[in-house]
């Protein structure tokens, strides 16, 4: 899965999709995940970084990660390439 390459994500968690003008807000965990996805990181390396940085266990992270990714897909923030 790839995040749209032209997606703009600010440090404050503001997401702007230049393809359709949609904008969203996410928390710091969300913006970190998007940044890591944009950089092409694998699920395992994202899990490692987030679990280390935030107080979260791996099982909960996996569940929340898949929920989050599903939201990204619903909002057309994922590239179809």
């Amino acid at each position: 899965m790839k995040i749209k390459s032209n997606l703009a994500v600010s440090d404050s968690g503001f997401i702007f999709n230049p393809s359709n003008g949609d904008s969203f807000s996410t928390n710091t965990v969300g913006s970190d995940i998007i940044r890591l996805l944009k950089a092409g990181n694998s699920f395992d390396s994202i899990k490692k970084e987030i679990v280390e940085k935030y107080e979260v266990d791996e099982i909960l992270f996996e569940k929340d990660f898949h929920d989050f990714v599903s939201q990204l897909q619903d909002y057309y923030l994922v590239s179809n390439d």
Partner: protein
């Protein structure tokens, strides 16, 4: 002594000063022309009614003249412009209303003979993009346009609705559209639009998706000088954008280029597009003049009004190659205070 290039001194007349909740583009066009550093410009506002806000706004028009309503015909319009031209020596006129364009196109050659430049589509181009002809136009040029049917009688409605399936869009000849989910709603819309705008009524297939618009400028030879796509962020109850943002979508630019190449469009226009979830851009309407949000193109780096004026003066304008994505416009309401004497001048003498 400075080395600044000499500015072109010119007088430009602009219509569409009705900066109201369903605004004309005039004020935005004037702001674009005034922003251009190549011009030393005097702006003549051309108004139809005494309460058009652009008449009274500071820094918009230097002088305003009322002109006859389009229904008075092209000769009446020409007579009034001759009078204004004798005083003001107009270099370029930029008309901004759909309803007046027919008259302005008709007299454009005579304006040219008087030394007044315009940059307008031909009558054929103007008619081809009319909503009544749009589906055929799309078919001819390989552009996606929702199916539609022009009807003159209420009895035709059930069959059209059956063919398209509900919901359907019932549209007036000039303005307004209603989404109807049942035959009763469609009949009610038919009566309402017929009473307001007359026949025919256009029934259109309903397309769902994201509504986006493109403001564009064609050079009359098939080249796109500018195309800036915008997504409406806030829409009034009249369907007008009260806030919007420039977006990056190659499909929309390509569509505009295809339209200009197919029509050899001369002048400014706006394409209203429905972008479906699977990414197909359907043309909903083509407006044959700049939209009211045209100042956003200036903010995004493509000054379409100033480029149009240059082309009307016979200058060569190079196509723009980029614009800023993520530029927003937010319209606002503002109570302008003026004196009754000003209102009296424009009402009684047709000049201010």
């Amino acid at each position: 002594m400075t080395n600044q290039p000499k500015k072109t001194k010119l007088t430009v007349a602009v219509t569409g000063l009705n900066a109201v909740d369903s605004p004309g583009p005039g004020v935005a066009v004037i702001r674009g022309i005034r922003d251009c550093q190549d011009f030393d410009v005097r702006i003549i506002g051309l108004s139809y009614e005494s309460l058009e806000p652009g008449i009274y706004m500071e820094g918009i028009a230097d002088k305003v003249y009322q002109i006859p309503y389009p229904a008075a015909g092209s000769e009446s319009l020409l007579g009034r412009i001759e009078y204004i031209h004798a005083i003001e020596k107009i270099d370029v006129i930029v008309p901004n209303f759909d309803a007046e364009l027919h008259n302005f196109i008709k007299i454009s050659e005579r304006l040219k003979a008087m030394g007044i430049g315009t940059f307008l589509p031909s009558l054929e181009q103007f008619e081809a993009r009319d909503k009544i002809n749009l589906f055929k136009f799309g078919e001819k040029h390989g552009l996606l346009v929702p199916r539609d049917k022009t009807i003159y009688d209420l009895s035709e409605l059930p069959q059209v609705a059956k063919d398209f399936g509900y919901p359907i869009v019932v549209k007036g000849k000039y303005y307004e559209a209603t989404i109807a989910y049942t035959l009763e709603q469609a009949q009610k819309a038919f009566h309402k639009l017929n009473a307001k705008w007359g026949l025919p009524i256009i029934v259109q297939e309903f397309i769902t998706g994201t509504e986006v618009n493109v403001a564009a400028l064609g050079d009359g030879e098939g080249n796109t000088i500018s195309a800036v796509p915008m997504r409406k962020l806030f829409i009034t109850d009249k369907g007008k954008a009260w806030a919007g943002i420039t977006i990056e979508e190659d499909k929309l630019i390509d569509l505009s280029k295809k339209f200009i190449s197919a029509t050899k469009w001369r002048g400014g226009f706006e394409i209203e597009i429905m972008l479906t979830q699977d990414g197909k851009p359907y043309i909903m309407e083509v407006n044959p003049r700049f939209p009211a949000w045209i100042y956003l193109t200036v903010g995004a780096g493509q000054n379409q009004p100033a480029s149009l004026v240059k082309m009307a003066l016979g200058q060569k304008v190079e196509p723009f190659t980029s614009y800023e994505v993520g530029k927003l416009f937010i319209r606002y309401a503002w109570d302008l205070i003026t004196d009754v004497s000003e209102f009296q001048k424009i009402s009684a003498f047709g000049e201010l």
